[in-house]
Amino acid sequence: MNINNDIGTTYLITNKKMTLVAILGITLGMSIYIFMNCMVVGFDKTSNDSIFKNTAHIRVFRDDVVSRPLAPDITKKAVIINPKVVPASNTIINPDEVVSLAKKHPDVVNVTPQVTTTMFYNIGKTQVPGIATGILPNEADQMFNIRSTIVEGSFEKLQSNLNAIAIGSGVAEKLSLAIDDNINISSPKGVSKNMKIVAIFKTNNSIVDKSKSYINLSTAQQLLRENNTYVTDINVNVKDPENCDQISKDLKVLTGYSSESWKQANETMVAGFRMRRIVITFISYTILIVAGFGIYNILNMTVSQKINDISILKAIGFRGKDVVRIFLTQAMSIGLMGVVSGCILAVILITLLKKVYIGGDIGYFPIDYELTKFLQGIGVGLIISFFAGYLPARKAAQVDPVSIFRR
């Protein structure tokens, strides 16, 4: 072993109490840092999951168009114009082509068409307003994981029966409906259909549960008196939802239609997530830095205590950088031990918290062992230990032995 490290280690061992306190500081700082960051990841995952149950990563649709004057140049002549939304249908004209175009994008995982329409659930004279979402059941299930929300009946039957419907638990309660009951629905275009309830889903979002229902795409097209190419939205899922804005722009260019990412659609929520992340990151860094001050303090004290030793070492031929190494060895040993025990403590904390039941649609506490956060914590912990050690070490290296011997 190098003599510098040897001396550093000896100082550590002979000063057990201080070393232990410093290690404890880093341990706590590290574990809280990792723990909180894993928690953020967990929170983000749950929040995103609940969003992605109803929203695709990217939605391609045809936006309403405002009419433009026919005159080529309206600046020179006096033209009276009255711009309005063109009463054109907002169908995507060539859905199959858009789907295949979108599928060619390297980051796209899943593409499925959808028709959404408002409608009424009718039972006798009671009318409850709602939204029917026409889907290709298998594709849509892959995208939104609808099956996981089904509480009664089976979602598979939607695939085989064009007159089947899956309704929200709120709707079922309001109209006291059960599986295999029939219900009449009527669309704004005046089409009315008798449907058979095959499944009831519950998303724990009460607005969705009280209004939404899933039907087959072609049934939705019939409700709107449209042909089988009528599609209002094309839903696209991508590999990394965080990266959706760029892909959304790509798709817009690629297909010529409007596209909207989930971030744009849920701006308030996304802003909330971001705030949460900033606050937790700030707190976790602060804790880690405070732990770094622990190392700094203790090493500063050691340097003051050992000022005679330092002078002696310099007299017998230790260079400034050797002295720096002696004290950096101490700092990094404390840092390393703190980091290791911090990781262990973080694993324990996460394991405990994972078992805590929260309830609602969250279930167990949303936290998991995030390798990247552990690595990040280790890196940051070591960097902080380094600087917390380097400053006192540099002070030690600048000790002038003559002035000490003269005292």
Partner: protein, 221 residues
Amino acid sequence: MNILETHHITKYFLEPVKFQVLKDISFSVQKGEFLSMIGKSGSGKSTLLYVLSTMDTDYEGKLTIDGEMVTGKSLDDLAILRNHKIGFVFQFHYLLPEFSCLKNVMIPALKLGKYSQKEIEEQAYQRLDTLGLRDQALKPASKLSGGQQQRVAIARALINNPLIIMCDEPTGNLDSKNSAIVFEIFKELTSSLGQTIIAVTHDEDFARNSDRIIEMRDGVL
């Protein structure tokens, strides 16, 4: 052969008021010489020793050690030079209290890194043996008596076979018996091993028995 030469060394203290401690000092020391520097306190003899030791670099004039110009070298180079060529014995023995005597003796050699750990340990034992401390080797340095600590410090100064051993009041806080032992060791070193010793001392007996005496008075020889 001159092992150490000074040319017109002048040094000022700036605090609290500007004061000239060393006034144009030129002298040389020969190889194998046992030199004592005496003088009243405040005469500048310790200051001169620190300049000669290369630890104090804030002076005017020139210093050569072993034919090599030392003035103007970087601090790191000076540290290496001290490690190779100079051994120190201080008034307050200044051992590292956390380490065993053996380790204390070994540290300069480990720093030098010329021999393996094992060889160094061997050499350290030899040195301690010569100084009659073999049985104390593994005790922590803080557990030894003053005289023993001083001898350990001498062993440490000797481990790298330095050209020059510099001592600041080597017998300053030792009783007469221990002083005599230390003196005998020094005498032995110069006569048999050809090492040069420069010692600052108040001890007149000590000085009288050395090869040469330099007296400092108000910054001049």
